[in-house]
């Protein structure tokens, strides 16, 4: 064989190039034989998404991320990725980030739009919807705070009405006085009770948050468990707030009643002790609600630690 050596070397070169080419494609999660096409999406926060991270539809890998570019003009992160040829992604599909950067497992999930829509062309754009486990809490907590805020405003205005009524010496509150006294006492009791429950709820949330932040073992399963617990805790907090809300509503009804039977209000004016008790109850409620408003923020700061580690 005259060209025996050349043949051997040539074969080795070709073989190694094939291994290299398909090896890189395989580990990059690019389909080995069929081609792929590029799509484009954008996030406000890339959450550690990098080149080569998998792209999934319903948990099935279908491609990977090619480029992650910071777009300072529009204050967003442009993400280019490719998916297998022949995969039909209808218009109206959305993307979201899943997984945690801390564990190197950030993924780009595509939620398919209505199947009737025409498919996206290569280079098409998908809008993003951010909602991963931690993002849920992050987005849910401000809502809760907002609700507490509304509630507080409602309570304050209701109490302001009460105050307004009391300031009117012509009003007859005599008959309602006993009812108010009882109501105030029960409100007081209720608030004290609620205070304990809310405090203990926040305490347990706090414990969870601190245990979450001290959670250095990189375990996704346990973490997601914690995140679930946290979620249910927040749901509980939500329920508690609902109770508080209905209590305030009751108070509202009560005041409407007072408004209707005006005759006994004069007695209330002549009884400064009662007035002060009502006032202090209102102050307690106000303070408590302010506290709730403050506490979740502190607690949210704790939560953010999770993001950092």
């Amino acid at each position: 064989m005259k060209y025996g050596n050349e043949l051997k070397v040539g074969t080795a070169v070709i073989l190694s190039l094939i291994i290299l080419f398909f090896g890189i494609r395989y580990f990059q999660d690019v389909p080995l034989f069929s081609g792929s096409y590029e799509l484009h999406t954008a996030f406000s926060n890339a959450d550690g998404l990098v080149n080569g991270n998998p792209v999934r539809i319903n948990g099935v890998p279908v491609g990977s991320v090619d480029r992650v570019r910071l777009n300072t003009e529009q204050q967003r992160v442009d993400v280019y990725f490719h998916v297998e040829n022949g995969l039909r992604i209808p218009e109206g599909s959305t993307t979201k980030l899943a997984g945690l950067a801390a564990f190197g497992t950030v993924m780009l999930d595509i939620t398919l739009g209505p199947p009737g829509n025409p498919p996206l062309e290569a280079g098409g754009f998908l809008s993003s919807s951010s909602s991963d486990a931690l993002g849920d809490i992050m987005s849910q907590a401000p809502q809760l705070v907002g609700r507490v805020d509304t509630l507080l405003t409602g309570a304050t205005s209701t109490l302001g009405e009460v105050e307004g009524l009391l300031a009117n010496p012509q009003s007859d509150l005599r008959q309602m006085l006993v009812a108010i006294e009882a109501s105030a006492a029960s409100l007081d009791r209720l608030l004290r009770m609620e205070q304990r429950r809310i405090a203990s709820t926040l305490e347990s949330v706090d414990t969870l948050a601190s245990s979450l932040s001290s959670f250095t073992q990189n375990n996704q399963d346990s973490l997601s468990l914690v995140v679930q617990n946290l979620n249910s805790t927040l749901t509980q907090l939500n329920t508690n707030l609902a109770t508080l809300e209905s209590t305030t509503a009751n108070l509202d009804v009560l005041l409407t009643k007072i408004n209707q039977g005006q005759g006994t209000l004069g007695l209330l004016v002549n009884d400064p002790g009662l007035y002060h008790r009502l006032d202090s109850t209102a102050a307690t409620l106000n303070g408590l609600l302010l506290d709730i408003q403050r506490d979740p923020k502190r607690y949210l700061k704790d939560l953010k630690l999770v993001d950092v580690f």
């Binding site: 050596n5 050349e6 051997k8 070397v9 080795a12 070169v13 073989l15 190694s16 291994i19 290299l20 090896g23 890189i24 395989y26 580990f27 990059q28 999660d29 080149n51 080569g52 998998p54 190197g104 497992t105 073992q217 990189n218 375990n219 996704q220 399963d221 346990s222």
Partner: protein, 253 residues
């Protein structure tokens, strides 16, 4: 000359000799017809003939790394795919090139030094020169080129067989499934990693072949000199592989 000044000047002289040899070799690169035939012979001896031993070593490296990583990761919280995330990059970034390097330092480096050393002490190099042949171009250029070209190819094979060995042991030994292994490997895969490995293998191939050619080409002192050159070529190649490994990691990673 005093002993102390010799201790300083000798290494510098040797470095100069080495560099001049390289310059002469590069100067002869253009005379392709001079070394074309030798080039393919050397490529077969350096590359093709080394495939079995490189594959064997790489396969076992992959298998052992897998078993040891599995042994160290006993915590149930850590997903098993992490084994794939550790074994594959280890092979691609480090073991594939370094294991191949050490094997070639012994197998190819020693052979080159012994061949050229024998040619030197039996005046075969003089005979080539006396004919009007450029002995550096004829003997050294094809050996260095063969190393630089074939080493990356061996590296690719080493990674292929190494990862294959890891997967095989993972599956057979029941440590984790192929799917988990590949999933883990994919999660941390960077396209630059194999590029880095190839750069490394080119540098290693260059280091081994040039050091061995230098040692062999300037052999003196008969059979004993050839033995000394052979040993030194293998040892120096290993030392410079380690140095180059560190240097490249610092520079490129």
């Amino acid at each position: 000359m005093a002993v102390s000044s010799l201790a300083i000047t000798t290494p510098i002289r040797n470095l100069g000799l080495y560099v001049l040899l390289l310059v002469k070799a590069f100067g002869s690169l253009g005379e392709f017809s001079l070394y074309r035939k030798n080039l393919f012979t050397q490529m077969v001896r350096t590359g093709i003939d080394s495939i079995p031993i490189v594959a064997l070593a790489a396969g076992f490296s992959g298998a052992v790394t897998t078993v040891q990583t599995a042994y160290q990761l006993v915590t149930p919280f850590i997903p098993k795919s992490i084994i794939g995330s550790i074994v594959a990059p280890s092979l691609i970034l480090e073991l594939g090139a370094v294991v191949t390097g050490f094997i070639l330092a012994g197998r190819v480096g020693a052979r080159i030094a012994a061949e050229l050393g024998t040619m030197r002490v039996t005046e075969q190099i003089d005979a080539l020169e006396a004919m009007g042949l450029n002995s550096v171009g004829y003997l050294i250029v094809p050996r260095v080129l063969a190393g630089v070209i074939m080493f990356p190819i061996l590296y690719v094979f080493a990674c292929f067989v190494g990862i294959g060995g890891g997967i095989l042991v993972a599956q057979i030994g029941g440590y984790l499934s192929i799917g988990e292994f590949v999933k883990g490997a994919r999660e941390f895969f960077q396209p630059f990693d194999p590029i880095f490995g190839i750069i490394k293998s080119v540098v290693f191939g260059f280091a081994i072949t040039t050091i061995s050619c230098y040692k062999g080409y300037f052999t003196g002192g008969g059979a004993e000199g050839v033995g000394k050159a052979t040993t030194e070529a293998a040892v120096m190649s290993c030392v410079y592989i380690l140095l180059a490994d560190l240097l490249l990691a610092v520079l490129l990673l």
